[in-house]
């Protein structure tokens, strides 16, 4: 654990030096990598450790983005708005987890998948509060330059990534992390041996929600304009999972490495093949699943699909 923490400290310190020698484009890319790194690390709590195929990341992301944006629109200072987004995601994940974590396999996957759809439609319909389909504009600070803004959001996202990483490391080496690994291997046996499976699973689900909620709120402040199809995009869930698969769920650095690798590939594809970039993304996913058994099977996701 101490070795991982040391290595991570050096890594994050190096990342923090990026603004010294980078223009706004690289800062944007760096912020994006850190954001997806947070999404992937957060998914690791429920998907990697507990082995529950959750597709709820998009729901937490959108919920956080809208909570933060609405709070800011109502005059709440930015940092407080981000905190309220995290709190909202925490409460929502706890309630949702208590209901959904009774399901397993495909059923859990589907139920978690549709949560984002439901939230999106609700946000779409409540025009008074959220602007509905017209989206929501966030205030742009008056005295800010492009570079200072880019640096501010880069460091905000970096701070969130550091906190998420620290939480992941702490949980992995704690009683909770041990319990989650037991649940992943055999939930019934873990239950019988005295692991409070319900509480542990809900804890993992909350951890997978709260950081993503804050990331959503930072994202909203960063891009200044959000709309329901943008922040409740199911691709947030899918990409987080693919990144963890790519990096390998076994190691604590897997999600971050996966995020960096995936986004570099995506940026290349996006830049060079704009018209077919989602198709190429699909091809990457297919190839990853078919030909990377090592990164993929270290996951040992539960096989109980049939209920």
């Amino acid at each position: 654990m101490r070795k991982s923490a040391l290595f991570a400290g050096v890594l994050f310190a190096l990342i923090a030096l990026l603004p010294l020698g980078a223009d706004a484009y690289w800062l944007r890319l760096g912020t994006t990598v850190l954001m997806y790194g947070v999404l992937a690390m957060a998914w690791n709590f429920i998907g990697g450790m507990a082995g529950y195929p959750s597709f709820a990341s998009a729901a937490f992301f959108g919920l956080g983005a809208y909570t933060g944006a609405v709070a800011q629109k109502l005059g709440v200072p930015m940092l407080l708005a981000w905190a309220s987004a995290g709190t909202m995601a925490l409460l929502f994940a706890a309630l949702l987890g208590l209901a959904l974590l009774r399901l397993r396999g495909h059923y859990f996957a589907i139920a978690s998948l549709v949560v984002a759809e439901v939230l999106r439609e609700l946000v779409n319909a409540s025009t008074d509060l959220t602007g509905g389909g017209m989206g929501l504009n966030l205030p742009v600070p008056k005295d800010a330059t492009i570079t200072s803004q880019a640096e501010f959001f880069f460091y905000s996202m970096l701070a969130l990534a550091v906190v998420t990483f620290a939480a992941m490391l702490a949980v992995k080496h704690s009683r909770l992390g041990f319990g989650l690994r037991c649940i992943q291997q055999n939930e019934s046996a873990a239950d019988m041996l005295g692991v409070n499976t319900t509480m542990y699973k809900v804890a993992a689900f909350v951890l997978s929600g709260v950081f993503v909620g804050v990331a959503g709120a930072i994202y909203a402040s960063w891009v200044h304009y959000i709309e329901p199809p943008d922040v409740f995009d199911v691709l947030y869930s899918i990409k987080a999972i693919v990144m963890v698969l790519l990096g390998g769920a076994g190691s604590v650095f897997g999600p971050l490495v996966g995020a960096a690798l995936f986004l570099s590939l995506e940026e290349l594809v996006w830049r060079n093949y704009l018209q077919v970039h989602t198709g190429v993304l699909g091809l990457m996913i297919v190839l990853l699943v078919l030909f990377m058994p090592k990164g993929v099977f270290s996951l040992r996701m539960r096989r109980k699909g049939r209920a």
Binding site: G47, P53, L100, V114, E121, I285, V286, V289, L290
Partner: protein, 288 residues
Amino acid sequence: MLTLQILANGLVLGGLYACIAAGFSLVWGVLNVINILHGSFIVLGGYLAFFAYVKLGIHPFVSILIAAPIFFVLGYALQRALINRMIAAPVLLTLSLTFGLDLMLSNGMLYAFTADFKKLTLDPPLGVVSLGSIVLPVDRLFAMLLALALTGLLYLVLSRSRIGRAIVAVRMDREAAALMGVNVKHIYAMTFGLGALMAGASGPLLAMIFPISPLSGPVYLGKAFVICVLGGLGSVPGAMIGGLALGVVESFGALWFGPEHSVTLSFTLLILMLLFRPTGLLGRTGYA
């Protein structure tokens, strides 16, 4: 009287929904694979009908007969070449695999057909039929009847034919079926082929009613999810009941809460069903 009309609308819609969901439910039930491609297959079937009608003048009802074998072969080949390799893998991987394939297919369609909505309009139109105070467009009525017929046909294939019994056998116990001389890989591919066939064949039916766009794939997929959970996974009667139920619920939901809440309503229903009655309305699992 309005109630009767809305009930009729709901049942017509529900017949089509049943057809959408039957193939999806079959694949999920037998292969334990969630086929994310299903929605895009439906859309592709719709495009096939559209171009067959606009360019060649082939009636959509006839193009079902063209779509069926094409999609069957496509599905069979896909399963044989790719998905069979991952069939024993965990949920997340098979789901990611079909999701990746779906991204490729929907992007391909977006590239080839553009995002513009296309509408297949019959010329001359078939008009409407009145039953007492209920008025129904004839094309919708025919589309529903054909959809129900297709679904019924799938039921017959599964319950009567040799290949159908083999599919049911594999669903019940893969190892035992293999020991009895069933070629499991072939049966898996046949099942996926049948699922693709149902999707491809319901495309032309939906194309007569709804505009076609590469972006409608996920909408149909979402409906298939809800129907499977409503009716109970892996049975044709379940898909039939679930489809009709969803059609009626959506129609009345649109009346009571407004059409903008129909997705919320159906997905809330899905989550409630999963929590309180995961075996579906019919309350049984298993293919028969």
